[in-house]
Symmetry: D2
Subunit: 154 residues, 4 copies
């Protein structure tokens, strides 16, 4: 049934390296092939790459935008006008989260997902340590395929 599709968010910086964009593109493509709705923040960099990968495989993407305009990148776009507060809606829209690369905005999404119990896997990106310097555990995967496999097994 169309409506029961899974939704997975792909998050990452708007200013991303070529390698990060290639990773996000492949993740978007794989999710679309598996009939998963690809949720992003709807802008450039990692987001645009995931949307474009999704589109290349004929998939459906949802852009949860910070502003009040609709750039026309995603299949469906919701211009929330919420600024960076829309990060929480990206997280809420998703059954699981794949983070590619690091930035403060991306970290806020990882933190909100962990706070609310949504599975998160990182491909590259930032790491977190507690007050004693011990690493705070976040799942990591090396490749787009293994990251997609990881989130769909949750």
């Amino acid at each position: 049934m169309l409506g029961s599709r899974r939704h997975v968010a792909v998050v990452g910086p708007a200013e991303a390296s070529e390698r990060e964009c290639a990773t996000a593109h492949e993740i978007g493509r794989l999710l679309a092939l598996l009939d998963v709705v690809v949720v992003t923040g709807g802008l450039g960099g990692v987001m645009a790459a995931a949307i474009e990968g999704c589109r290349s495989a004929g998939g459906v993407s949802l852009g949860v935008l910070p502003g009040s305009d609709r750039p026309g990148r995603s299949s469906v776009e919701i211009p929330t006008g919420l600024g960076e507060m829309r990060n929480a809606l990206v997280v809420r829209s998703a059954d699981a989260l794949i983070a590619v690369g690091g930035s403060w905005g991306t970290l806020s999404e990882i933190a909100l997902a962990r706070r609310t119990g949504i599975p998160v896997v990182c491909v590259g990106g930032w790491s977190v340590a507690d007050a004693h310097g011990a690493p705070v555990d976040v799942a990591t995967e090396e490749s787009p395929a293994s990251a997609v496999e990881w989130v769909l097994s949750r």
Copy 2:
């Protein structure tokens, strides 16, 4: 281009008459035929009827849900967890609004759309008068086809 599709919201009560549901169904169907994304609050009554009409014509619908669950009615669903505050996001997601029938929730959406300059047309529903009893102008149309024509001409 897929991404540049217009988005129109169909709003109305979750508890609706058969006639209101038939109207909403036809509006959803016509919008889908015109390649417009049908945005709703994602629940029952007028919303479910518009979604079902959209689906019957192979269209894409976006459900902006008040709760944290995904009922699986719409093509893409965003479980905002915002309660009735999500009404503002339904309005922001839309280039124009068609209201079918009346309720306090529906009236809040009409009022927010008028407040923010988004075109609104009502098919049936509530009317508003100012402190002197003079009607406060809201466009009304009798039929689904004329309502759809009205919003797409804005």
Copy 3:
């Protein structure tokens, strides 16, 4: 106990008549005398008058602002950056709502309050009729004192 104070919202247009402002000022003053936190949208017109009335009696006011600046009118200000979506937070912050005068923004607040079961009383302002022209019931009072008495008796 300080923390257990009641919170009442005073809502109304930013462009208001002298009479509406005088009414809002008196309502703000009376609420402050009764140790009630006066919640508003934090801007001009009816809002500014209610805040000023509250301040004149040494009360505490909360401004729930649409923008990202703090105009410095209220005792405590929360610049939500949510635009008109902050209307829902004004409603949620309040145990009851007093509406003075009419506008689309004010009507959205009345509708959200009625939708979510928060007591509302109007002093002047717009009225609503259903599809058959029958009035949709909203409590009205003539004077500031009777409006304040009405909400505090809920």
Copy 4:
């Protein structure tokens, strides 16, 4: 002027150590003595300690709550019903942020503040490293007094 008071947020986990609570209490007390409105998420642990410290010095506190109830801890309380999404409103309400201790919720607030350019200082808590293991810079201070001095100098 009452309305032009500065607002500083004190953020940290609801389950906190005695030492973290003592730190937050002293920060709340110092901010109140400097006539700063103390903004928190309104719940227990670090939040409750900061509120209590503020109250002990006769200050005004704002609780931006995740739920729809008003626990009665803060001078003014806004029960947003937004869940963890209210973290973004805590950040927006503040001219600067002091984080005491670490948790995913706290990290989301630090990340949003950094993302939006609001000054942040941490007393204890988590640290962040980039993909190459290099520390991502966040200001830290050892004592309540130095943290308060830091934020008020921004």
